[in-house]
């Protein structure tokens, strides 16, 4: 997936988008749409775009709700990058204290099947090829090959 003119080269990664939004649920959709639109222009297949879009939606939702406590005075940052092999990297960072992904309950367990929350992290890990939590969990980096 070639970089477009104007993309910034940072080492082996090309920065395609760098967005900051206030921590409000309504601000998330615009970022998800911007990312999927950019991927469409780069001829990324639809199925992959859908999977990346949903993973970004989940990561941003967690950042807004848990990282920022739905405080619109705080900012969530989202970056879209690609490497020379065409692999996509998406980073979402919030100013919160972070969390331990190992402590997230398993949504597939019997007692959680009808739960109305708690599936976001699990979904991200299912949709993306690699997921890394950094900065004590306040930043997530997701790869899609």
């Amino acid at each position: 997936m070639p970089a477009e003119p104007g993309d910034q080269e940072t080492g082996a990664l090309s920065k395609l988008l760098d967005l900051s939004i206030p921590a409000h649920p309504e601000a998330i959709a615009a970022v998800v749409d911007a990312i999927t639109e950019r991927l469409e222009r780069l001829a990324v297949p639809e199925q992959k775009r859908c999977e990346v879009g949903l993973a970004v939606q989940e990561a941003l939702a967690n950042a807004v709700v848990h990282g920022c406590g739905n405080d619109p005075s705080k900012q969530v940052r989202c970056q879209l990058q690609s490497d020379p092999m065409g692999r996509i990297l998406i980073s979402v960072a919030d100013p919160g204290p972070g969390f331990s992904p190992n402590l997230v309950p398993n949504p597939n367990s019997e007692e959680n099947v009808y739960a109305d929350h708690g599936r976001g992290v699990y979904l991200i890990c299912q949709l993306m090829d690699e997921v890394h939590f950094e900065s004590s969990g306040s930043e997530i980096k997701m790869w899609k090959y």
Partner: protein, 176 residues
């Protein structure tokens, strides 16, 4: 602020933290201070829009979700158009279900043919109310869910909680 909506379509606009209600062909600003909008008692068609400031285009009106509710043979058929994700879309669906429960409507068909994305918040509302409605002897059945919606429901292990149909007619008839 927004175009005059087509006749019969109620618009609920979310603008800068305040909900403005536009009725039929005479939109008027009715600022509401509550966080979630008070929905009409008989909800037929609702379009949820949001306004966002864009540096390039100024004030941009974005359609969040269309919800169309109709009753067929004592079954509520709810058709959604748009992404079912955290925010006004999920909040409004939650209220729609609460209204149905409050009215004793426990037979519900959800048409998801035009729902390209269901996030974990949307899934949460679906399964939570599926459980509540089943406790009252009812059910929520899915009609024509989009391919990606099916994939998402399967990924989180809840697809098998729902009965799925190829069209609304079959889903409605299954309640008989």
């Amino acid at each position: 602020m927004s175009k005059i909506p087509p006749a019969g379509m109620k618009y609920l606009s979310f603008y800068g933290g305040t909900f403005l209600c536009a009725n039929k062909r005479s939109p008027h600003c009715l600022p509401l201070t509550c966080k979630t909008p008070p929905l009409p008692v008989t909800l037929n068609a609702l379009r949820i829009v949001t306004f966002q400031h864009c540096s390039a285009q100024g004030l941009v009106r974005r359609i969040v979700l269309d919800i169309n509710v109709r009753k067929r043979s004592q079954v509520q058929v709810i058709q959604l158009r748009g992404a079912l994700r955290m925010g006004p879309a999920v909040d409004t669906l939650r209220q729609t279900f609460e209204e149905a429960l409050g009215s004793g409507d426990t037979r519900i068909v959800m048409n998801l043919s035009e729902v390209p994305m269901v996030d974990s918040s949307g899934i949460g509302v679906l399964v939570r109310f599926l459980a509540l409605i089943k406790q009252k002897g009812g059910n929520i059945k899915l009609s024509q869910p989009s391919k990606f919606a099916v994939q998402t429901l399967r990924l989180v292990g809840v697809l098998n909680l729902f009965e799925i149909f190829d069209n609304d007619d079959a889903a409605v008839e299954s309640f008989v």
